[in-house]
């Protein structure tokens, strides 16, 4: 009788069943939960649930758009000075590092402290480049403090000024538009000084942030296995966005996060992840390439009927990829250089490689093949993926004519070219395809199939004559990809082609300071075509990731540009 009464009481109090999200991460998971030490998307996937940044991407926007997260509103600009205002009442997670174990309110000095941690070499920071040459006096502060006996976090930085507990100013060296994108990246998330100092090295596994979810105990993160995150009981009153369209989202205005707990499992192999999904033990999954045809029809790429009947929904997510199958070291005496003959040689190679065939054979034809380095969906991406300056194959006639123009008719006189590529996955087969394509015009390849660390080393040391590599954009702006051809970024920097073009560099300096506008887009296209004409790479491709979710998971709009969208996901307890 008593038991029945307790059950009745619970039911009447609305003590619903715990809502648990069961999500996969396709890797061994993060290596660290310290924002300044992290850099991979696996670290982003977990850190963005625990920590928060000043900005976030708008969840319901069709194209990536920034909006305030820890800020009251977007910063006000006066010349090079930006004034930021923090939201009031944002509190850190409860943790023993605070007096009484109660998380305190976030104030302006926490922001500067968090940014300064990236300048401190003792923290082994991975992403100083995000701040480099951006904030007035910050580079000098970094150099001086790292030389000093102890790093003084209280020492002033010329461009960082606290106005009061919730307001601060940042003065930049020059208008750098990407700065706002940077402030939405998890590496710039706000951390409490008390926790970073108390836990020291172990702060990497003892995360204390302001996010909607928290790590209750260090043991909840089992390296290489999984992580359990719980809802932050003190999370501020934040609501599901209204959305900009005519139709109001069904969850608009509801308090977030919805889930009480997130059980994340790390999968370094796709088969167990796929079986767990099929068995109904995961709420969404990224469809592995080898299972693509099990879920989708190959020709139309539509979800198979039997899956649709189960209520499974498909969510294709275009990735901000720039994958090239053949990059040239522009300093190489054979394939590098900027004379008409040298250009003709690279263009000939480009015309001879059949990227569409590679896409069909190795990627189920689902990748996007395009001209240039600016990923699909971004300003500067060529209409339909085709640029008039591109030299995309397959056009063997043009390839042979250009090869003759380069001084190597039918490949005669051209020594075998060294092609460095990864040995993993289907690397050897893809290399054979490239080798076969080039053999058709008389170009011989000497392949070097090596692991990623060797490839990376060879490219950084300018030893790789030709190489296949890839770039995932750090933020949704073509500027990030155009930087790969900026002369001063030459190897070991991100310009692994060692491309040098004074006119291009001048334009890059210009667009770096511009905000989105038709003029900027025009310059992006101009720069893209300058590079395409010189042909330092054969490309490009971008992947589309297919997410499937079951009907029990609600409000899923996956993105891989940012990952703090777990807070918007809800579970239908009656759904399958």
């Amino acid at each position: 009788m008593r038991i029945a009464l307790v059950i009745l009481a619970c039911a009447s109090l609305g003590l619903a069943q715990e809502k648990v999200l069961r999500l996969p991460i396709r890797s061994d998971g993060p290596k660290t939960l310290d924002p300044v030490r992290g850099s991979t998307q696996y670290e982003a996937q977990v850190c963005e649930q625990i920590y928060e940044t000043l900005f976030q991407y708008s969840y319901l926007a069709e194209t990536p758009r920034l909006e305030p997260l820890l800020l009251e509103d977007m910063p006000k600009q006066q010349g090079l000075v930006y004034r930021f205002k923090l939201k009031k009442g944002v509190r850190f997670h409860d943790d023993p590092c605070f007096p009484g174990g109660k998380g305190r309110e976030v104030v302006a000095k926490d922001v500067f402290y968090s940014w300064k941690r990236m300048a401190d070499d003792d923290n082994s920071p991975r992403s100083w480049w995000l701040y480099e040459e951006t904030i007035k006096g910050f580079d000098a502060y970094r150099a001086a403090q790292n030389k000093a006996a102890t790093f003084d976090y209280d020492a002033p930085v010329e461009g960082l000024r606290i106005l009061n507990d919730h307001e601060f100013e940042v003065e930049l060296n020059m208008p750098v538009y990407r700065f706002f994108y940077v402030l939405s990246m998890f590496q710039t998330a706000i951390v409490p000084r008390e926790a970073a100092e108390k836990y020291g090295e172990t702060f990497s596994s003892h995360a204390v942030g302001t996010g909607p979810f928290l790590l209750r105990r260090e043991e909840d993160w089992q390296r290489t296995k999984g992580i359990v995150l719980h809802r932050n009981p003190n999370y501020r009153d934040d609501r599901f966005p209204e959305g900009g369209g005519d139709v109001r989202h069904e969850a608009a205005g509801k308090r977030i996060p919805f889930a009480d707990r997130i059980d994340v499992t790390f999968f370094s192999k796709d088969q167990p992840m796929w079986l767990e999904w099929k068995a109904g033990n995961l709420d969404f999954v990224q469809v592995p390439a080898e299972n693509f045809e099990e879920a989708y029809t190959k020709r139309k790429r539509t979800l198979r009927k039997e899956w649709e009947e189960q209520g499974v929904r498909s969510n294709p997510v275009p990735l901000l990829d720039f994958i090239w199958h053949c990059g040239f070291n522009m300093e190489d005496p054979v394939v590098g250089g900027y004379t008409e003959e040298k250009k003709a040689l690279r263009q000939a190679i480009s015309y001879a490689i059949n990227l569409d065939q590679i896409n069909d054979s190795f990627y189920n034809g689902i990748n996007t093949v395009y001209d240039g380095m600016i990923s699909p969906g971004l300003d500067g991406y060529p209409p339909d993926g085709h640029s008039p300056a591109g030299h995309r194959g397959l056009d063997l006639e043009k390839a042979r004519a250009l090869l003759a123009k380069a001084g190597y008719p039918e490949g005669k006189g051209l020594p075998p070219l060294e092609y460095w590529t990864q040995s993993g996955a289907n690397g050897p087969e893809q290399t054979e395809a490239v080798q076969r394509d080039l053999a058709a015009i008389g170009v011989q390849l000497k392949t070097r199939l090596i692991d990623f660390s060797q490839l990376s080393e060879a490219v950084h040391e300018k030893r790789a004559q030709m190489f296949s590599y890839a770039w995932g954009s750090d933020y949704p702006d073509g500027e990030n990809n155009l930087a790969l051809f900026f002369g001063p970024n030459g190897a070991p920097g991100s310009n692994c082609f060692n491309y040098k073009n004074a006119a291009y560099d001048e334009l890059y300096r210009q667009i770096r300071t511009m905000s989105p506008s038709p003029e900027r887009t025009e310059l992006y296209a101009k720069m893209r075509d300058m590079v395409l004409e010189d042909c330092p790479f054969v490309g490009s491709m971008a992947r589309i990731r297919f997410y499937l979710n079951r009907p029990r998971l609600k409000h899923l709009r996956p993105s891989e540009t940012y990952f703090n969208w777990f807070k918007y996901l809800d579970i239908d307890p009656d759904g399958k």
């Binding site: 310290d34 030490r37 991979t40 100083w128 390296r223 290489t224 167990p272 068995a279 950084h460």
Partner: protein
């Protein structure tokens, strides 16, 4: 005997140092720094990282440091704040929970099959059992795992409606956790090893069963049971012990593939993650522990020989 053990231990010190030297050399063939830094790294980042990791020092100095200050309290490069010892001590249990039952089960079943086959040598049963063993040996480990996971866990749930074996995972807090998470990997390991082991044991038993002293024993009128127990099985024990003892260190090392596919946080998975992540302290720590266990097991095997076979003298 103790003198023998001590002498063997001393002889093995150079071997042990050699193993560590080879592993350190092998790890340093490729520079790990650029990969660890990821994209957007500069030469300045590279130089700093090399210094932080101690890779800028001459190799012999690094080796000297490893030997001089070697302890399992060294920090993992990939898991700041976590010592190598802590990582290994946590990883060893999941590995043992799978490897030990698999080892015991494989040994008992393989010995059983071997004895039946040897006893019925030349008969149809023997031929069928050995043909089965050859087929079992010929199948790749990955095939066992993929099929085991698909039919043993996923399909079984579909057929029965009950999740008897987990597709992947490891959680000791769950009821009947061992059956749920470990039984299937154990069965896969047994299926993989049983073919080779039963053929090996059969060959050993058959060889002993055809020796002169066994024939003599039979000629003297000794009962078949005594012939087998006293003359065949006892003498067959030495190769069996060798095989079993050689296998023992690998129980601690864990099974890389099964742990990766089944998401079991054991030694095998820890090792492969460390190798792929270029986490030198972890790989070196693992090697140091594994090599030590291997050497000790070898010495123990010699001691066991003497205990089992009076003809063997430790000197």
């Amino acid at each position: 005997m103790w003198q023998y053990v001590l002498r063997k231990l001393l002889w093995n010190i150079p071997v042990y140092l050699g193993i560590l030297l080879v592993v350190m050399l092998a790890l340093r063939v490729n520079d790990p720094v650029w990969v660890r830094l990821g994209k957007n790294a500069t030469q300045e980042d590279y130089d700093r990282e090399r210094k932080d990791l101690g890779l800028d020092e001459p190799f012999l100095k690094q080796y000297g440091k490893l030997l001089w200050g070697f302890d399992l309290e060294r920090q993992s490069w990939d898991k700041p704040g976590r010592s190598v010892g802590k990582e290994l001590s946590q990883a060893v249990w999941p590995s043992l929970w799978i490897a030990l039952p698999a080892f015991v089960l494989t040994t008992l079943v393989a010995l059983g099959i071997a004895l039946v086959a040897a006893f019925r040598r030349g008969h149809a049963l023997d031929r069928w059992l050995m043909a089965g063993a050859v087929v079992g040996m010929s199948i790749s480990y990955v095939v066992y795992i993929i099929l085991g996971q698909y039919f043993g866990a996923y399909k079984l749930k579909e057929w029965t409606g009950a999740e008897i074996f987990a597709i992947q995972g490891y959680d000791t807090k769950r009821a009947f956790w061992w059956v749920h998470f470990c039984a299937l990997p154990v069965l896969i390991n047994v299926a993989l090893a049983i073919g080779y082991d039963s053929r090996f044991y059969r060959a050993v038993v058959v060889e002993e069963a055809t020796r002169d002293h066994v024939r003599t024993a039979r000629a003297k009128g000794l009962g078949e049971r005594r012939v087998w127990l006293r003359h065949v099985l006892r003498n067959a024990l030495i190769p069996v012990i060798t095989h079993v003892m050689i296998t023992l260190p690998f129980l601690v090392a864990g099974e890389i593939l099964v742990e990766v596919f089944f998401n079991i946080p054991g030694m095998g998975r820890t090792l492969i993650t460390a190798i792929l992540g270029k986490d030198f302290p972890m790989v070196q720590g693992f090697t140091a522990v594994f090599a030590a266990i291997f050497i000790i097991t070898n010495i123990l095997t010699d001691v066991l020989y003497a205990l089992v076979d009076p003809r063997v003298r430790l000197s």
